[in-house]
């Protein structure tokens, strides 16, 4: 079952886990952007979520509460962004960038004293007997609950955005906030809730890093994952399933390149290292290139502030 010394079953199982932080953050950002808001502070919200989740988990001893704490921390930080852009109508790009810097700084400060502590462990969700099955065991049954949660959220968001009234309202606000306003929807309030949701998702993604993947608190733990998430949203044309594909592709090639190195393939390491970025962008660009006439799916009001007086 090995190809060049790499076991594809373990590879797929690993990539599903390693893509979780990016996937969750990107899904949250998809909703935010579909509502017409460009929040570049994903990295900041992730790192705050990582710290918030870690602190709560360590003090409560419960990883589940930790993830909740991560979500709350991310959402709280995003509310700063929401207040600045939706109430005071500040520039979204500048505010988002500031949010990232702020988040990194605050987490570094708040994380003092949490270095070198081990968080309570999160085990796999299903019994070991299932996870030990050949092939499907590691891929389908061997994960912690957050992996299943991330896939569930992909499906849920797809359905909500596509087939429900709430999704329609969110899309209306993102496509034409004036029309939505004319119909009587509270544009800024809807956007604020979307921003908070995006913050919570980024926070859970960050908490996955500090509670399961790494698992410990270190400064700057996200190391740029938030920016990857932002890029994936754009290349996935704001569609949840494509976000999943992009995140898995990125996670998969990241894992693959390390495995190829270990397996001693002859490919130079430099090419392997840039492969995740290159291939993810390439594939998603090709996918969205087909229907250029029909626009690439960007919400028409993306990045524009709204005030009822205009």
């Amino acid at each position: 079952m090995d190809f060049g010394g790499i076991n594809p079953v373990i590879l797929i199982a690993t990539l599903m886990a390693s893509a979780v932080p990016i996937l969750l953050a990107a899904l949250g950002e998809t909703v935010v952007e579909r509502a017409g808001v460009l929040n570049l502070g994903v990295e900041g919200m992730m790192v705050i979520g990582a710290l918030g989740g870690f602190i709560v988990a360590v003090h409560s001893g419960s990883p589940l509460l930790g993830f909740l704490g991560g979500a709350v921390a991310g959402a709280l930080l995003s509310l700063i962004f929401a207040a600045l852009t939706q109430v005071f109508l500040a520039n979204q790009v500048a505010t988002g960038l500031a949010l990232t810097l702020f988040g990194l700084g605050v987490s570094s400060l708040g994380g003092q004293g949490y270095n070198g502590i081990k968080p309570p462990a999160t085990g796999q969700l299903l019994p070991d007997a299932l996870a030990k099955l050949p092939v499907v065991g590691p891929i389908v049954f061997g994960h912690d609950w957050v992996v299943y949660f991330s896939i569930f959220m992909t499906a849920a968001l797809w359905w909500v955005l596509k087939a429900t009234r709430i999704g329609l309202i969110i899309r209306a606000v993102g496509e034409s906030h004036e029309a939505a306003h004319a119909l009587g929807y509270k544009v800024n309030r809807i956007r604020l809730m979307c921003i908070a949701f995006g913050g919570a998702m980024a926070g859970i993604g960050g908490a996955y890093l500090s509670l399961i993947r790494v698992p410990q608190w270190v400064d700057g733990i996200t190391a740029g994952a938030g920016w990857i998430a932002l890029a994936i949203v754009v290349f996935a044309s704001w569609k949840p399933w494509r976000v999943l594909l992009g995140a898995w592709l990125f996670g998969g090639i990241t894992v693959l390149q390390l495995n190829l190195q270990v397996a001693g393939s002859g490919i130079p390491v430099e090419y392997l290292s840039m492969a995740p970025y290159l291939i993810t962008i390439l594939v998603l660009v090709i996918m969205s290139a087909g229907r250029r006439g029909k626009a690439n799916g960007a919400p028409a009001s993306l990045g524009q502030n709204f005030h009822a007086s205009r």
């Binding site: 270095n115 270190v218 400064d219 190391a223 390390l258 190195q261 001693g264 390491v269």
Partner: protein, 363 residues
Amino acid sequence: MKRRNLLATAAMGLTLAFGGAASAQGMDKVKACFVYVGPIGDGGWTYQHHQGALAVKEEFGDKVEIQWQESVPEGADSERVLTQMALGGCNIIFTTSFGYMDPTNAVAAKFPDVKFEHATGFKREHPNVTTYNARFYEGRAVQGHIAGKMTKSNKIGYIGSFPIPEVVMGINSYYLHAKKVNPDVQLSVVWAFTWFDPAKEADAAKALIDQGVDVIASHTDSTAPLAEAAKTNGAVIGFGQASDMAEYKDGPRVSSIIDNWAPYYVKRVGAMLDGTYEQQDAWEGIAGGEVEIGEITDVVPADVKAEAEALRDAIAAGTYHPFTGPINKQDGSPWLAEGETAPDGDLLGMSFYVEGIVGDIPQ
């Protein structure tokens, strides 16, 4: 008072300008500044440097002011930070990562009366640039010995940061000593291309574990590889890197290399105070106390532990050099003849694997 100070500085500047001799006169107060590549909270490399900085403050009290900046990217950014520190009145600036080599020399040219100390580099282009390093490969030899004895799968791993002589040296030493006690051992090297990225370091460790590696040494700065090894419930062991990483003692960490910069920093800042400061190229190892071997835990059988400690003591006593011939390069060409030990110059520019290691060093 003011004028006298001015004259003193001017005189010092003059002596430095003419031939760069040591300043004959000590200083009343020294401002020592430190540039770190990662956050102090990394639990490894930067943490240890900061411990050294704090030791300086402890030693000299009011006579010393310390200042530091964390997470300074290698490259153009560091040049700006260094310039700012030099302008801000720092008398001596320690730049604590290999990638600061060129920026350190570039800024040193502009501030001849500020002392620069660059860790792990080899360029001293100006009389006010000193380099200092520690012989980590001595510690790697001890780790390699333990790895060779402890591995059950005969696969051992090494997480490399960047392909620089410092890291290549460590890989070679680790492999040679594992091979010596276990001829069947195979080494897998993963290049992370980062000093500090916990998620990536964890992924690298996971990739090694997935491929059957059961002893992991790392040359990156965080504790993430150990945390990853801890998930295997004892099947995989590893080593603390740069710092003791004692919090994993009851888990995968069986020993460690501890960088102890405190004696060096205290010595150098002390030399500034009493006027004996001179440019130099410092490279101490286990003997000088800069490289310490962290406690070997009970996971390691007593006889292996005793052997590892004997190896450590032999290196410290100078009776054994980790690179003693015969050693061939990877391509089979001879490097060291029987009984010959590696000259420092060869080590500092090391850009080849020794015979038996598979794979290429990225260029």
